[in-house]
Amino acid sequence: MIRFLLNQKEINTALPPGMLLLDFIRYRENLKGTKIGCREGDCGACTVLIGEIKEGKLFYAGATSCLMALGNAAGKHIVTVEGLNIDGLNAVQQAFADEGATQCGFCTPGFIVSLGGFCMSDNTPSYEKGIDSVNGNICRCTGYKSIERAVARINNLLSQRAAGSALQFAVDNNIIPGYFLNAEEDLRRLRAAIPEPATAVGNKVLGGGTDLYVQQHDTMPYEQIHFLFDRNELKGIRKEGKTGEIGAAATVTDIADSPVFKDFFPGLANYIRLISSTPIRNMATVGGNFTNASPIGDLTIFFLALDAQLTLMNGSDTRTIPLKSFYKGYKILDKQPGEIITKISFTLPGKEQLFNFEKVSKRTCLDIASVNTAILLTTEGHIISKANISAGGVGPIPLFLLKSSEWLTGKPVTTDIVEQLIQMIQSEISPISDARGTATYKRLLLAQLIKAHFISLFPHIALQQLTKLPA
């Protein structure tokens, strides 16, 4: 049985745990405000809020219900647009009505839900955070300007909030209905009644589902699923001395919010901005990104340059391997059936180390990379004493550019060296032409992104000539 709260109702269902939350909401519970646009997590029309108790506190985050297994709702508070309705329009809905931010209306409930989550967050509100909360929602009618004005209006309201509970403020200001004030207690009572999830019950391993449900949506409801997403031992981001450790079920949002990552990666916010959207980041796990084995997995490329180590577990057996030896061929992994990734560990960059991540996709945000790359350089003065360069979209697997990285070791940072490095890299990659670009274009992209690495990391060195395109 799967038990969770749906708006104000307690759900207790024996339906298949691999069924989509979206289908459950629309066709079993008849809540038709949650819309179907793409079933791929791209449009956000099906956005719901997931309320969870984390570190002793109830916390809401947006998710696309079209990629979420019913089983991953267990023990949580799921909120649809109906669950945000009060008598008359709530403040978010009123802002949309006043600013003409709804035209055909099909995408609107998704925006309302995402912004409801923004209003329920205890973080200090800002216009930018409001906009970020809807970065996973597509609108085809408005051109977004009216939506931006509505967000500004909502942010103005929130800016009147003194420190203290966002939920209380939201209830007091007609942003959400009053039952949210009891939600934490209701959820605790429900969770207390739920037995610990059984370990390894199925053979289909599922994290957040953001890729699996795109690829296998028609068969997933019938699978025996081994749920990992809510396993406590797979969560968390820690610093152990000079080592960073990430649980395999940590999400992209966990990384983005992690004090460890913020400390050691000054450019983090810029990298995260390029990786999917807020609701997808809330669901997508690091381990899932690695095992999906996409040659352009953003996190894979990020951690390859950090020379991360994977800990894999099979029953009571564990082993640790470098991420760069995990990929054996297109979608072929050094992983046994039944084996799961439990942990990712890597050496945190020191003072003399520089890190950068670059990505180009057809759309700036919310898109799969055409080419992505990361770099970690250790420097002694102007000399590079160690280099790790990774690149995606330029071969059948996410590449660690070993030869080029070794070649760069001991070299000074000059325009000539960077140009030579790019030549070297061209001999180490084998891109193919596909929907994301021709092979020639991808070679050019990687060359430009390598230049971008050096321009970003060495702003004080005159590398301006690098901006020129090759003839």
């Binding site: 405000g33 329009l89 006043d98 003409g100 035209q103 055909c104 209306g105 309302i112 321009i455």
Partner: protein
């Protein structure tokens, strides 16, 4: 006045096609589309799919009681393929089953063998082979040949605009239900209920008065649900006609993107001639429109390209010819602007090229040639023009002089990032060129209590026609 639908839109209470409560006994459809872009069907085996539990019946062109034809302007588009397929995704069979899942599972059991024929996707190749939807159209004013001899500057070139997916967030769909005496009521997500009714009547051999087409609202259309909404409604009605049961079909996003047409891609040649004062004295253009496999609305789109071929400028000598070319893509169709943008882009490309070659800002040429009241369009209409005052107002309102200075300063101070500014005047003809369509009727009921209903053929798709009717 605010959008009167914003109350239900923002609360998730507006009803779209997939939100209509299901009638008991409803069956679900799915279309089997051709896996090849062009070929002759050698063998179609439905037996494995038909024998699946829950599959009620699979329809092919043989089950059509009337004409197998849905072409609106040119009768060149069968509803279901007979001997040949003309684009990848062209409907070949319509499965009706007890559930959506079964209908989709059955699609995978259909076996089709097709002898391939040459596939043409490039409109210029199609034109060379004489594959035109309608004879070429030419708009002409003055004498370009004579005028070019007097021009100081002449520039020639080619301009390409690609296709574009409408991506209405609500996909195509329809829901048909039986009535008395063979009457059928169909809910359709269509921009053109009359087109649906007319073609349904021809396909089913049922008079129009027995076919009721109801549209509540659309979750976006953008032109993509003009003629392209028709087949899905007829498929459902065909199922209802034979089975006397309600039949529903909402396409999933993959089906929708694969089987429906997009904005017409264009490839165009231009030749522009200017005098010493930068007045455009002569302009020639040849437009090659990629219509896809059937006419759909492409001839009307083509006409609008010609209407807009000089955008907001007066050119005394123009020869513009357009070819609607038949290729093996899904039939391309209306999309915001309806051919206008494709026409304007070419003259703007010509001006941009002239400006680049002459080393001057394009706005110098644009401003000098703006339409004045009394000037003639290429099709003879005399303009009442506000173009020049509009331009001057933009210059003042946006303080262009100061903006230009800021840009120059920024560009002098920055190596890696550059800014620029451009003007884009637009002249766009409203209303239909088929003038009898520029009218509307409404049926108004005033009830005994004083309340009123207004029934119209106007389709609410976010443009606010419901609100307009209340005004």
């Amino acid at each position: 006045m605010k959008n009167i639908d914003s109350y239900t839109h923002t609360r998730g209470e507006s009803v779209y096609l997939d939100d209509i409560p299901l009638i008991t006994g409803t069956l679900f459809g799915a279309v089997f589309g051709s896996p090849m872009a062009h070929g002759r069907i050698r063998h179609l085996d439905l037996s494995a799919a038909e024998s699946m539990e829950g599959v009620i019946r699979i329809f092919t062109y043989k089950d059509i009681p009337g004409q197998n034809q849905i072409g609106g302007i040119v009768p060149d588009e069968p509803l279901l393929a007979e001997e040949e397929v003309h684009f990848n995704g062209m409907p070949v069979a319509f499965v009706v089953a007890e559930s959506e899942e079964i209908a989709h599972a059955a699609l995978k059991k259909i076996i089709i063998e097709i002898d391939p024929l040459p596939v043409i996707t490039d409109q210029r190749i199609a034109k060379d082979k004489g594959l035109l939807i309608i004879p070429p159209r030419t708009f002409k004013i003055g004498d370009t040949n004579a005028a070019f001899t007097d021009c100081k500057y002449i520039f020639e070139g080619t301009a390409e605009t690609n296709g574009q997916e409408h991506l209405y967030i609500e996909t195509q769909g329809a829901y048909a239900m039986p009535g008395e005496n063979n009457a059928i009521k169909v809910y359709s997500s269509t921009q053109g209920p009359t087109a649906v009714q007319r073609h349904m009547s021809a396909v089913l051999g049922i008079p129009m008065h027995l076919l009721e087409i109801d549209v509540i609202r659309l979750g976006g259309g953008f032109g993509g649900k003009e003629d392209q909404a028709t087949p899905w409604a007829i498929f459902c009605a065909l199922g209802t006609y034979h089975l006397k049961r309600p039949v529903k079909y909402c396409l999933n996003r993959m089906e929708d993107m694969r089987m429906t047409g997009k904005r017409n891609p264009y490839s165009s040649d231009f030749k522009i001639g200017l005098d010493a004062e930068l007045k455009i004295m002569a302009y020639e253009a040849e437009f090659y429109q990629n219509a896809g496999a059937a006419a759909d609305l492409s001839p009307a789109v083509l006409e609008r390209t010609l209407f807009h071929c000089t955008n907001s400028y007066f050119v005394p000598n123009v020869t513009a010819t357009a070819y609607s070319c038949r290729t093996n893509l899904p039939p391309n169709t209306a999309f915001r602007g309806f051919g206008g943008p494709q026409g304007m882009f070419v003259i703007e490309s010509a001006i941009a090229k002239a400006a680049e070659e002459l080393g001057i800002p394009a706005s110098d040429i644009q401003q000098k040639n703006l339409l004045q009241t009394g000037d003639a369009f290429v099709y003879g209409q005399i303009a009442e023009s506000e173009a020049a005052p509009c331009w001057e107002r933009a210059v003042t309102q946006y303080d262009i002089q100061n903006l230009n200075k800021e840009i120059t300063d920024f560009n002098a101070a920055n190596t890696l990032y550059k800014k620029a500014l451009s003007f884009m005047p637009i002249c766009f003809g409203i209303s239909f060129t088929k003038t009898p369509m520029n009218q509307a009727r409404a049926l108004v009921h005033v009830y005994l209590d004083g309340s009123v209903t207004v029934s119209t053929g106007a389709v609410e798709m976010g443009q606010g026609v419901n609100t307009k009717c209340c005004r």
